[in-house]
Amino acid sequence: MLKIDHLSKHYGETLAVNDLDFEVKAGVVTGFLGPNGSGKSTTMRVIMGLDRPSSGRATINGQTYDQLKSPLREVGALLDAKALDPSRSARNHLRALALANRIPVSRVDEVLEFVGVASVANKKVGGFSLGMSQRLGIAGALLGDPGILLFDEPVNGLDPEGIRWIRDFFRSLAKEGRTVFVSSHLMSEMAVSADQIIVIGRGKFITSGTVDDLTANAVGTVLVRSNDPARLAEVLRAANATVEVLNDNGLNVGGLNSEQVGEAAFAAGIVVHELTPQRASLEDVFMTLTADSLEYGHKNLEANS
């Protein structure tokens, strides 16, 4: 089990991770979602023992990474696919990892075959495309057949076929009872590939739950069309709703449900042509949740418009 225990990390004055505290369960794919610069990679680096936490800790089955006797047999990680010596071949890169962790060298060819880079195993990794490097990185993560797998932005650089492959692959790893922890800044990707999602922003925990949990709790909007949108907007604003006038004269209404919007229109004698509740997408939820925590938000632009 992977446990993040009141973890904080400073880089000089910058607080990259701020008191994160959560557990990642086995048997499901857990998405680690947050905007760029929100502390996902830092958290992953601390888990891997690469960066030292300022306070708190990350433990793997109760031990910090540097206490693990044979780390690659317990945790497999793909943090940065290009972090390889470019002049070494893919096979030799994996052989060195296998030797250092007493993993049988025969396992190297198995994982190379599995990720589909066996045909270029003797080529220098410096010439690999990002997609091929990602596959090699996945091979390295699988080398020790670990129970916990970490992937930092794994779909970057993959083609659509590769993305589909990796989604199925995460699911099958989870089905085998492994802990699969995948970071992404793309909510659409997490919506289809993760069972459980942990959302962070500016290094702080925001929320967690299943995709359905996250969208269910979010308040949707109501789309309404009428014969007099200008007057209807006035009426709804008077009822404390937020109203956005769409280009086609439809109104996007927040703060009221569809019954309330319909009743308000009826009371004012306005004919309603369409009345549709809009369910919040995970993307909307994510934008709402992280709006305050974006390092470079668009808030000021919106306020001026």
Partner: protein, 263 residues
């Protein structure tokens, strides 16, 4: 099967990494060419000009030192190889993969030191013995004074020349651990070996007498010469001890920093 990995396993991994990059072979060839090639070149030149030498010059002639002069050029090749063993990992980011596989950082350093120590001890001894033997062969063919390995001071000078190269490999490695970038490490290494001696030369001679014997290049001269060079230089034994201490301190500081810093 699930026995935990030991120092032997990490050392095997480091040795595999060391011998599977082309830079290692380019560096080793440079080392061989500089040490043996310069021995051939210099001894041939001396042989050709022997007849024009004055009796005083002939008396000052040192057949051992002249055949080992390439060592003081090869010292740059070994320093770069030692430094690159760690700085190239920082340059590519591979250090993070390495530390994920071997999170015990002291053990990682020990493995790297073993690989460098063993390889450069063997290669160092081979090249200095070849340089010496080829040089003496050339001298003998011109009926010049020559040295022999059956003479214990000559033998010692040759062995110490190889050890000097081995220690400087580790000095380069230690500086690389501390400085982490190849270019900065090599600049500092060259400064220590070439620039600081020049600066010391401008100091008052009473200062020089106290300082210059501590310079790495002068330690090398002391280690490889049959007898003490002057009253202000160390004996070969003391010089070796001083250089060993330098090496331990530099690698030690580098190891301490590695265990403290984020990767």
């Amino acid at each position: 099967m699930s026995t935990s990995p030991t120092l032997v396993d990490t050392t095997r991994a480091e040795f595999l990494k060391f011998r599977t990059v082309r830079a290692t072979f380019i560096g080793l060839i440079t080392l061989i060419v500089l040490t043996i090639g310069l021995a051939v070149l210099i001894t041939l030149v001396i042989k050709a000009n022997w007849s024009q030498r004055s009796p005083v010059e002939r008396l000052a002639f040192d057949p051992v030192a002249t055949s080992l002069v390439g060592v003081f050029f090869a010292q740059f090749a070994v320093g770069v190889l030692g430094a690159r063993n760690i700085t190239s990992e920082y340059a590519s980011g591979a250090i993070r993969t390495t530390l994920a596989a071997v999170p015990r950082r002291v053990r990682l350093v020990v493995s790297k030191v073993i690989v460098l120590l063993v390889t450069f001890f063997v290669v160092g001894q081979v090249v200095v013995f070849c340089a010496f033997e080829i040089g003496q062969m050339i001298y003998r063919s011109g009926h010049l004074p020559s040295g022999t390995l059956s003479n214990s001071t000559d033998l010692r000078a040759v062995i110490m020349a190889g050890i000097y190269l081995t220690l400087l490999t580790l000095v380069g490695f230690g500086l690389g651990l501390i400085l982490r970038t190849t270019s900065v490490t090599i600049s500092i290494y060259v400064t220590l070996l070439l620039i600081i001696p020049i600066i010391v030369n401008f100091l008052p001679s009473s200062w020089q007498d106290h300082i210059s014997k501590y310079l790495p290049s002068n330690l090398g001269q002391s280690m490889t010469s049959p007898s003490a060079i002057s009253s202000h230089s160390f004996s070969w034994g003391t010089a070796t001890i001083v250089l060993v201490i330098y090496t331990i301190v530099i690698v030690g500081i580098g190891t301490l920093l590695l265990t403290r810093r984020d990767a």
